[in-house]
């Protein structure tokens, strides 16, 4: 099974490296590696796990929100005082990083969208109805929804956003093998104590990235929780009677897709 996890883990880093310069690749990778280490330590050494995440906002200010969300969730779920301490710390870091972060979030309203609101409100006979559906807060809500649903779209991770690529600012990387979708869904349906932390990290990452204007490449922090879930899914799949046909199809497709990443 390790060979399948290994093959799966090659996709996103390879495609990211091939499509970005070295310094950017290092920036995205370090954040992802720190997330992975934190995730692996979360149940055995929660303090160290939380502390490892602290450098992330200094490497990438955009990901300051990620820490706030993850510590808030862990505080709510595990009710350990240590998470309250790290939450305060991450809030402090966030406030210091706010000047850099300000223009990068969805709360920055662009001129075109504001004009669209004015234009659309004129089409209604009822001002109340016009204001219900066309207002400035709705611009922010719509931006959040577009990003959130892009981040939970399976096509994003397994099919490079195909057939609806080009609708969002994205490199459309091949993040995981297409057939890894099956173990991923199996893991989501069979939530256990083993993969709960991965879900928390995944959910936190999705919410945090949805608050950014452009989450592309910063979503590499989702690599480790998703990989862990896929690994869990492999374990379940390989215990079923569909093991052999799945393995055959997976290997053929994965080698094919990996070849395409490397040469095309």
């Amino acid at each position: 099974m390790n060979i399948f996890v290994f093959l799966t883990s090659l996709f996103w880093p390879t495609d990211l490296a091939l499509n970005n310069n070295l310094s950017n690749f290092i920036e995205y990778s370090v954040c992802s590696v720190l997330t992975m280490i934190s995730l692996l330590l979360v149940s055995k050494q929660p303090k160290l796990s939380a502390a490892i995440m602290l450098p992330i906002p200094f490497l990438t200010p955009k990901l300051s929100i990620f820490l706030i969300i993850i510590f808030s969730l862990q505080l709510a779920l595990k009710r350990k005082k240590i998470y309250f301490f790290f939450l305060i710390l991450s809030l402090t870091i966030f406030l210091t990083k706010w000047p850099e972060l300000k223009g990068e979030t969805i709360f920055n309203l662009d001129y075109e969208k504001k004009q669209e609101v004015i234009r659309n409100t004129r089409l209604y006979n009822s001002i109340a109805m016009a204001r219900l559906f066309h207002n400035k807060p709705r611009i922010v809500i719509d931006k959040f929804n577009i990003r959130f649903f892009s981040l939970i779209d399976p096509s994003n991770y397994f099919f490079q956003f195909h057939p609806r690529e080009g609708l969002i600012n994205n490199q459309n990387l091949q993040k995981f093998p297409s057939l890894a979708l099956i173990p991923f869904l199996i893991a989501l349906i069979n939530i256990s104590s083993k993969n709960k932390s991965a879900l928390v990290y995944l959910f936190s990452g999705i919410i945090a990235l949805s608050l950014l204007n452009n989450f592309d490449r910063h979503d590499f922090i989702l690599f480790s929780p998703m990989l862990l879930l896929i690994k869990e899914g492999f374990e379940i799949t390989f215990k079923t009677k569909y093991k052999l046909p799945y393995i055959t199809a997976f290997l053929i497709f994965t080698v094919f897709e990996l070849t395409r990443i490397l040469i095309i």
């Binding site: 779209d153 096509s155 099919f159 057939p163 609806r164 497709f253 070849t259």
Partner: protein, 556 residues
């Protein structure tokens, strides 16, 4: 049926009627060329017993060599003497089928669900369907898929009834047999469904109580399908499938540049096509498409509204989890999983991303899934009177919001932003031709960017016999000749590209869009602007001008 069940059913039908009947025929105000073509062919059948090309009662309608399915067109025929040849008439069958789908779905879900949840799931499902943007869009406009869905669900319902009452098999066979030629997708979905029903119930079907009726129903079904089977191998019948499928095109990501074996492997067409099919198939379950993006086509979506309301998303996730994990759902689980699996198939083999027309049957299982989620939450909130009232109030707020959202997107924004896509303006052009133009002068209607003859024929109610004579086709080649002549003769009207060198030399009318007839050309050639038709956003739709041969200045 219990009183409260009847009340729920009537409420859903009332809601569905309001959302679909309100301004039916007026909104969208344009009439798309396919709608006009279906209406005119129905008119031609009524008047002459032949279609626009002179073919008697065709099995599939040639139209724009897209070979339209026949059932919808034949349902329009008896409505024309009642309502006239109007936009309302051509959209009415879709509306009516949409309304009838509500009770059929209710009865079907009640039939196959465990008694403990059948009332709740059936009631919530029909309420959701009544409000469904996906189903409403096709219930307000002329789309065959809506009628086909109703026929298919009715066939399903009568099949399940027949398990206890064998004679219902006859009705099931009739409805399934009519569903197959009713829309292209049903050519795949219905046979797969029948295969499943047969595999699951073959013991019952061949039992003493059912065998004779089953064989008789099979015979009736095949008899009804004979005309369709007769043309099944013609290029016409296969036109849509062959024109749209991904297997006849270069797969996405394919590169011609192949220098060695590795390149050959990396560009393997079978693997690329398989991946493309999987990507297209999965897209029909993507929350991004379901709740945010909707259909990419401007006529199969409303502005700022997807196929489902965004508030339904959490219930969809909960419902999916319950559907997969629950072992107490019985046949509703099997049927929902079957419909989820097969409904996207006809759409996923075409290259269009998230085509809601071709995948319309998918609305049913996805609504059932959402209903399961809503029912679960409601059952969790029933622990006291306060939470029960609170949750009902919450749903009432959501439904009210959804109704207002429909009004906003389907009526107000759709009219403003999608007028071009709905071919707005041809009714006004026809009106001007009838009332303001000299009938002795030729009229040239530019068809460089469109094929307006169907709309002109429709709004002018042009004599079909004359049209058939002036635009002949070798009827022996009706189902086989795939060549399409875009230029048509409609009395003194000819649809063809404007020829600026020749047309200005004679006295005639020219009709075209802003690109065909610019203000510069009107000035340069001293043309007379008869009428300028504008879209709701005040941009120019069409210009109707008269030439002035005596004072024409050559443009070249």
């Amino acid at each position: 049926m219990k009183k409260h069940e009847l009340l729920f059913l009537l409420l859903s039908i009332a809601l569905a009627t309001i959302t679909r009947f309100y301004k039916l025929g007026e909104v969208p105000s344009g009439l798309y060329l396919d709608e006009a073509a279906q209406g005119y062919n129905a008119f031609s059948i009524l008047k002459t017993g032949k279609d626009e090309f002179g073919k008697s009662f065709p099995i599939i309608f040639r139209s724009f060599t897209d070979f339209k399915t026949p059932v919808y067109i034949y349902t329009i025929v008896p409505l024309i003497p009642i309502f006239g040849l109007t936009k309302f008439t051509v959209r009415f069958p879709s509306f009516f089928a949409s309304i009838l789908t509500i009770p059929i779905l209710f009865l079907l879900i009640k039939k196959i669900s465990p008694k403990k949840i059948s009332h709740n799931i059936a009631s919530i499902s029909i309420l959701l369907l009544a409000l469904s943007p996906w189903h409403i869009l096709f219930g307000r406009t002329n789309f065959e898929c809506n009628l086909a869905l109703f026929l298919y669900l009715t066939g399903l319902y009568f099949f399940y009834v027949s398990i206890e009452k064998p004679k219902a098999l006859i009705l099931s066979a009739i409805f399934f047999a009519i569903a197959i030629p009713a829309y292209h997708s049903q050519r795949i979905i219905t046979p797969l469904t029948l295969f499943y029903l047969f595999a699951k119930n073959n013991k019952t079907l061949f039992s003493k109580s059912h065998k004779k009726i089953f064989l008789f129903s099979l015979a009736i079904g095949l008899l009804l399908l004979l005309p369709t089977l007769k043309v099944a191998l013609t290029p016409g019948f296969l036109a849509r499938a062959s024109g749209l499928n991904i297997f006849t095109r270069i797969p996405a990501g394919y590169s011609d540049n192949q220098r060695n074996l590795i390149d050959l492997f990396a560009n393997n067409k079978i693997l690329l096509l398989t991946k493309q099919f999987l990507a297209l198939y999965i897209s029909y379950f993507s929350p991004r498409n379901m709740f945010i993006l909707g259909d990419y086509g401007k006529r199969s979506s409303f502005p700022e509204l997807s196929t489902f309301f965004i508030w339904q998303f959490p219930f969809y996730i909960i419902g999916l989890y319950l559907l997969i994990k629950s072992k107490k759902l019985g046949e509703i689980k099997n049927l929902t999983l079957l419909l989820l699996a097969i409904s996207p198939l006809p759409a996923a083999v075409t290259h269009d991303p998230y085509s809601t027309i071709r995948a319309l049957p998918l609305v049913i299982p996805q609504i059932i899934v959402i209903s399961l989620g809503i029912n679960w939450l409601y059952s969790k909130l029933l622990f006291n009177k306060f939470t029960k009232v609170g949750s009902l109030a919450g749903f009432a707020v959501l439904f009210t919001y959804s109704l207002l959202k429909l009004q906003s997107s389907a009526i107000i924004l759709n009219e403003y932003y999608r007028a071009t896509d709905w071919n707005y303006g041809w009714e006004e052009v026809a009106d001007t031709i009838k009332n303001n133009l000299n009938k002795d002068l030729p009229i040239i209607v530019d068809n460089t960017r469109s094929e307006p003859h169907s709309q002109l024929l429709f709004f002018l109610e042009y004599n079909p016999e004359n049209y058939q004579k002036d635009n002949p086709l070798n009827l022996q080649e009706y189902y086989t000749n795939m060549n399409r002549n875009k230029n048509k003769i409609i009395g003194n009207i000819i649809t063809r590209p404007i020829n600026w060198e020749e047309d200005l030399k004679k006295e005639m009318y020219l009709i075209g869009d802003e690109l065909a007839i610019s203000t510069q050309q009107i000035q340069n050639h001293n043309l007379t602007l008869i009428r300028e038709i504008k879209y709701p956003d005040q941009s120019t739709a069409f210009r109707i001008i008269k030439t002035n041969p005596k004072s024409t200045i050559s443009a070249f």
